[in-house]
Amino acid sequence: MADVESGVVMLDAALAALRGRAKADDADTLPPMDEDAFRAFYERTARPVWAYLARTTGDDRAADDLLQEAYYRFFRAGAAHASEAHRRNYLYRIATNLVRDRARKGGGAVHVALPEDGSPAELPGDPGVAERFEKANDLGRALEQLKPLQREMLWLAYAEGSSHEEIAEVLGVKATNVRSLLSRARRKLANLLGGRRG
């Protein structure tokens, strides 16, 4: 019985070590996440993260697996974060690394299928533009022809509204290169969508 108790104490200590690495006396960082904080963070971020994983891998099932893995790695790291935005960027970085690892292991060709609910998603304030994308597969086919980094960059910039600094942090590229890389990727996608002017 004493061995069982000591074993439980050892396991609890290991769990505490896995969780609580944030310095409690560091006033510039957010406190470590308890269950309530984690669940609130998850509620805010899970759907957008899933969408990011699904559109960059082209595989909804892969996105399901990668989503859970991303949150587990985020939780296990127990890293301290300066802000909610920094925490979010860290999560997206983990998700991006998982997508890249999967691609390196030959995780299947990219087929970016978008929800086929028969009607375009309404875009607030501009239903006319949304109608131009009546068939979501037009965008899906266009995204398939982009390089992985271009897909990631475009999604973060124009779907998530991330700044160049945030994109650099998430994708592990130099902030000074983001503008030019993004511009090239955007031009390529625009050409593929057939809407380039001039």
Partner: protein, 165 residues
């Protein structure tokens, strides 16, 4: 080559983000984007990706937060258990390797025959004489006892941990 870009690109992006672009947007920005290659690209790409994001977020089949939390706790506990079991296995392997090495040395000494035995006994007597006068004898006894008993203790511990559940 002319630089492809416009200082109002960010304005177009922000207008989309806030839902102002289009019917409710100021016409001047809309007219500008219609005539500017860079801003037209921004409007086109932002509209497409924003619509795709909206659809994907609505359709995202994410599990409940409570389920995710519970699974993570379970997985963390299992990983901690596995790590503890690996530590015991490594320690046991090290002890067994040490005991094996010492056994080989002793057997080698024994196999030298009478001459070897004579040499060993002379060496052993000299060692014992030296160690009697210092603290090393108790240490030697402790080391020998540890080498002899440690493999048994590790074997008992490993059988207690058992295999994966």
């Amino acid at each position: 080559m002319a630089r492809h870009g416009c200082e109002r690109e960010r304005e177009v992006r922000e207008a989309f983000a806030s839902g102002r672009y289009g019917a409710r947007c100021d016409e001047e920005l809309h007219d500008h984007a219609s005539g500017c290659a860079a801003c037209a690209e921004v409007a086109l790409v932002t509209a497409a990706l924003a619509a795709a994001r909206l659809a994907s977020v609505r359709a995202a089949p994410v599990p409940r937060s409570g389920l995710v939390w519970w699974r993570m706790q379970l997985r963390a506990r299992r990983e901690a258990e596995a790590a503890a079991a690996r530590t015991v296995s490594r320690a046991g392997a090290g002890v067994l390797a040490s005991a094996f090495g010492i056994a080989v040395v002793l057997l080698g000494a024994m196999s030298l025959g009478e001459a070897g035995g004579e040499l060993a006994s002379q060496t052993g007597a000299a060692l014992l004489a030296a160690m009697r006068s210092s603290w090393r004898l108790p240490l030697l006894i402790a080391v020998v006892a540890w080498v002899a008993l440690a493999p048994v203790a590790v074997w008992l511990a490993m059988t207690e941990h058992g295999g994966p559940s």
